[in-house]
């Protein structure tokens, strides 16, 4: 496996999310994908069939943990019960890496269960960096933080998102998951040029890509994970893979989850972009 990032994390190839409707197919057929990603919270509190399946899958594939509830940007205290469960699962499954999103999910103990945007300010940057450092120390491994899809900006913003994320990664010494669809959605929503965004990504910190479908409402796009990856995102992905030299890639599909064959076909669409790299490097 190629390693082109500063963390020495491998290019796992092309993976998909492990979802309940596909459990039986994955366990029985061992389909031809390179790795699986799990939503961390869906496996943290179970000793039942989900855990049995995960353990079986882990015997055959690398597994990455991707959470939605760390709430790194929240001003509520860190949830140590949550973090202990997270660490226990990571250790139990021996995951390739683990991460979450640049966002906050609630405040005052009220969880909105959404990935709310962080205001891109110096103060929020210091706050998030300190929390990432604390969590990384506890977990004993780097966090892989994902750029969000956002649907608004704040009047209080002091810098562009990608500048803020780059500084966060540098100051906290964390890794990045570059969600190419999120770059597209965010840039569409805020009238930005996605290529200008990508030009500022600190590439040596990127260890993973996400690809997903979104809903284009005309006035704005929403990151719905319920459709094929659009052509424009594939084009950006091709550029990103060239720029990174190839990093682990995951197709996210959650809403209107298709039959396995369709999901795998979508994942396989990523392979030609990666084969171009191999041909280039040969």
């Amino acid at each position: 496996m190629d390693v082109s990032n500063r963390f020495g994390l491998p290019d796992l190839g092309v993976g998909v999310g492990l979802r309940v409707p596909h459990f039986q197919h994955v366990v029985e057929r061992k389909p031809a994908v390179d790795w699986f990603e799990i939503i961390s919270e869906n496996f943290m509190d179970t000793e039942g069939r989900p855990m049995r399946v995960l353990e079986q899958v882990r015997r055959d594939y690398p597994v990455v943990m991707h959470g939605v509830a760390m709430s790194i940007g929240s001003t509520d205290p860190l949830d140590w019960d949550y973090l202990k469960r997270l660490k226990a699962l990571a250790d139990r499954i021996d995951v390739a890496w683990m991460g979450d999103h640049v966002c906050w999910t609630g405040v005052g103990s009220h969880n909105g269960h959404d990935l709310y945007p962080v205001p891109y300010t110096e103060a929020s940057l210091r706050h998030v960096v300190e929390r990432i450092k604390t969590i990384q120390d506890f977990l004993g491994r780097p966090l892989v933080m994902e750029n969000p899809s956002t649907y608004l900006t704040f009047s209080s913003d002091e810098m562009p998102e990608i500048e803020w994320i780059g500084r966060m990664a540098e100051d906290a010494d964390c890794a990045l998951l570059l969600d190419v669809n999120n770059v597209y959605v965010t840039c569409r929503n805020h009238g930005l040029d996605p290529m200008a965004y990508l030009e500022q990504v600190p590439w040596d910190r990127v260890v993973q890509n996400h690809l997903a479908g979104h809903t284009d409402n005309g006035t704005h796009c929403v990151d719905t994970h319920d459709d094929h990856v659009c052509d424009a995102v594939w084009a950006l992905y091709g550029w990103v893979q060239q720029r990174t030299g190839g990093v682990a890639t995951l197709i996210e599909w959650d809403g209107d989850l298709p039959e396995w064959d369709l999901l795998q076909a979508e994942a396989d669409k990523a392979r030609p972009y990666r084969e171009q790299l191999e041909a280039r490097d040969a």
Binding site: G48, P50, S124
Partner: protein, 282 residues
Amino acid sequence: MPEGLRALETWMLRIVTHPGGVDAGFEAAQSEGLLPAGTSSLDDLVPPNDRLSAGEQLHVYAFAYFDRITDVLRGEYPSVELLLGPARFGSLARDFITEQPSRTYTLNRVGVPFSSWLAERAGDDPLLSFAIDLSLVERALDEVWDCKAEAPVAYEALQVIPPDRWDRVRLDTIDALQLFELRHPISAFMNGVMRGDLDGVPEPEPSWVCVYCTLAGRYRIPLSFEQHALLSSLVDGATLGEAIEAAATSEGADVPAMLAGLGGWFRDWTERGLFRAVELLD
């Protein structure tokens, strides 16, 4: 903790989770003193763009808040939704989300209090009264899913126990088992839901149900009064002899039918995997 960030998260969550919508949320945040000094409109907080106003951008999150959690409730309580219809279920879900804001990090537990919340508001509404029973069973189907999957004892292990030792034998039930004594005959209705073939709402009539999960899947089976009494005693730790005696002496028990059925019942329950151990006392 950066106070400005805390304030921003507090007003944003107040606005996007307000049941009356973004404008009502803004008014509430303003009257509660949550907004930065000098704020006179949403535009002061979120810059409008050439396609969406500040309110429309915030509405993306406000819509997602209720929509996401309602979807979770629909997934956990499909029979309740079919009973009440999507409009009434959606309205109830919105009230539930507002009155019971999530305090948990996982969407998997957001719906836990739904049954007790329904019970508080059911009054003498016959549909809601039936919905409570359905919700209890549907909640249990989710809970047993996450219980430890255990290897069952074989029926042969029971067959070798002579009747004169039954008072010294304890059958240890699996954790993934829940028993219910209900006010409505839910089984036919839920079977109809699974078939997509609803046949009206039944009149109130006591019923007994067992919900369990094994490596093979999760199940709901109807019980007789006597079966429920017997299994309940076993779950509570009674010996086999004590459980049989307790069931036989329960008011209204059909003792001859029970004694005639005992062998078949235990064979069925053992083959279903409801017992994880046979313990011979001293």
